[in-house]
């Protein structure tokens, strides 16, 4: 068993969703605290085990003397005092960690995340370069910059947790919380709702994509633009079907007459890596499967099954895929 431990730890540390594989300043502070406290406590545990072993199997003399009693009392008292000192040290360490992952005075970028059963609505405020825009389940941030994330909930309590980048913070209805998000290295970091929120809590993932500042600027410029005009005939037909069917009542596609706001904004849905909060990769096939029967892929979610002919389904899927 013991021999397997390092292997188990190695597995736990890899991947893009682990507090033990930190790539952002807040997550790195937290990881140092975790490793430090675990290491210290392991040392203490080993010491206690050694004393226990000695106590169990030491050679014993006849009878217990006054002196022995007094010596034991001294040792026990000293150990309790040492415990108190170590505990105080760990408390101070924890205090400094909490302070260092707190919000900075000013962050260069502000994002609002509004959680819903069971997806993440993301708002980017307008800046000098771009007007504000909305996206879903995917957050882009520039590497090496502090990002202030405002956290709100539309229904029940959710929790925003991207362990490789930052701490965990709840999204509480009736309140507004904040979190510092920061990545030091480009990459895709997966997050997951961390407060049980109902039927599809398990399928409520969020992707944080950290990229070089230039790439980030390109992305915001593309996202803040309206949906691009279409050339392909099937996508154009899909657009007509989308606007004629109930789809437009719940979804917004900027640049069209679709302005519903119950479901995710689909203006650039084709540019996102996944659909349905990390459920499946975005392809024309997965889009078609999702539109055809959302309740089988993610039972209980708020998207109804809209009756479509197979041609309509194909066209709408093509249209969705084209919305880069």
């Amino acid at each position: 068993m013991v021999a397997l431990w390092p292997a188990a730890f190695a597995c736990g540390c890899s991947g893009n969703q682990s507090a033990l594989a930190p790539y952002g300043a807040p997550a790195i502070h937290v990881e140092h605290l975790i490793v430090g406290i675990v290491a210290l406590c392991t040392l203490i545990w080993v010491a206690v085990m050694l004393v226990l072993g000695l106590a169990l199997w030491r050679k014993r003399q006849q009878g217990e003397t006054e002196i022995q009693q007094r010596r034991l009392a001294v040792v026990v008292t000293a150990s309790v005092a040492a415990t108190a000192v170590l505990i105080a040290g760990m408390t101070v360490a924890s205090f400094y960690t909490t302070r260092s992952i707190g919000l900075p005075q000013r962050a260069s970028i502000a994002i609002t995340v509004r959680a819903q059963q069971w997806w993440w609505q993301v708002f980017y405020a307008s800046s000098a370069a771009t007007p504000g825009f909305q996206t879903a389940n995917e957050i882009h941030i520039p590497v090496g910059q502090d990002v202030h994330v405002r956290l709100e909930s539309a229904d029940v309590i959710h929790s925003f947790w991207v362990p490789s980048l930052a701490g965990k913070q709840d999204l509480v209805p009736g309140r507004s919380n904040s979190l510092l998000l920061r990545a030091e290295k480009p990459g895709v970091y997966r997050g997951q709702c961390a407060e049980f929120c109902g039927l599809q809590h398990g399928h409520m993932a969020v992707m944080v994509i950290a990229e070089a500042p230039a790439d980030y600027a390109r992305w915001t410029a593309a996202q803040s633009a309206d949906a691009i005009p279409l050339v392909a005939p099937d996508a154009a037909a899909g657009r007509i079907a989308f606007l004629a069917k109930p789809c437009a009542a719940c979804h917004t596609i900027r640049g069209t007459t679709a302005t519903g706001n119950t479901g995710p904004d689909l203006t650039h849905v084709g540019s996102r890596q996944t659909i349905a909060a990390g459920l499946v990769e975005t392809t024309r096939g997965s889009l078609a499967a999702w539109i055809a029967d959302p309740q089988t892929l993610k039972p209980g979610n708020n998207m109804p099954m809209v009756p479509l002919t197979s041609v309509e389904l194909q066209n709408i899927s093509a249209y969705m895929e084209s919305l880069k």
Partner: protein, 373 residues
Amino acid sequence: MTRSAEDGLRDTALSDRELKRALASTWSAQPGLWEALSTVDHKVIGRRYIATAFVFLALGGVLSLLMRLQLAQPEARFIGPDRYNQIFTMHGSNMMFLFAVPVMQAMAVYLVPLMVGTRNIAFPRLNAFSYWIYVAGGLLLWIAFIVDTGPDVGWFAYVPLSGPQYGAGKRADIWAQMITFTELSALAVAVEIVVTVFKQRAPGMSLDRIPLFVWSMLVTSFLVILAMPAIMIASTSLILDRLVGTHFFNPAEGGDVLLWQHLFWFFGHPEVYIIFLPAVGMVSTIVATFTGRPVFGYLAMVMALVATGVLAFGLWVHHMFVAGLPRLGESFFTASSMAIAVPAGLQIFCWLATIWAGKPIFKTPFLFVMASW
């Protein structure tokens, strides 16, 4: 003891033989099913309580196996999300409210009167009542689960997920009613233990002579008396929100969803020590017995139990560190949560000293204690 000394203590004119017969007829169990069900003997009720708690433990274990089967591979289709949510809610609620707390209190119902030298627990009929109301709570929960109406909001039942708007059907109501039953039972037993320890100790057994297990159950009982009302207030407010339409937890009408978390964890954290303290009491008793010497530092051990009990009420906010409370308050609760390691460490060091000074006998109970380190 000689006859003459005994005579001095007697308060009856009956002869020895008649007295024995009278006592036997008063205290012996009557035959028959009705007598068995209506007994108020703490030993019978204690055994029954322990056995019932272990039945719930086994059922809870089956639930966890079902969960592990579903999780054995990603996106498995073994259990649907609705049933799965019921299963993990049942597992948590079952283990906390129908096993862990009751089994510890059951041990006390059986052992405490014997350890303080009294024939029965205080308020024996209340004791019987507490057992039956506990069974009622357990049956309510499990029957609801069998007919697919089991609670599905987690054993912590956070609002608004468990509230009227998002918790459809009767599921959260069943959960809240089970809480009322089992907490009533826990409160009744706690009162019995406190009164038994304070009022029914054998002559000459002062408080500084009672076994450490009895001390641990005394502290635990005070924790129950102080913590359980919070969860009963919470579950009653939840039922009112759901059935009457009050707005305790509705932010749109001036309620607060974090109020639920404060009330729940003001109970929920002491609950941890309601389970932990009886166990350390058992360890103290077992270590003393199987090393052939009294526990080292009896007074220090008692102080550690009391300190843990007091600190237990200053920790609840560490369950809400991600809820967005002020940082300064969180730092206070971090410090108090860490501080509980001091009395816990003290107990470990006293056990070590006991083993050091004593002569360990490697029998099963002692081996279990050693394995727990």
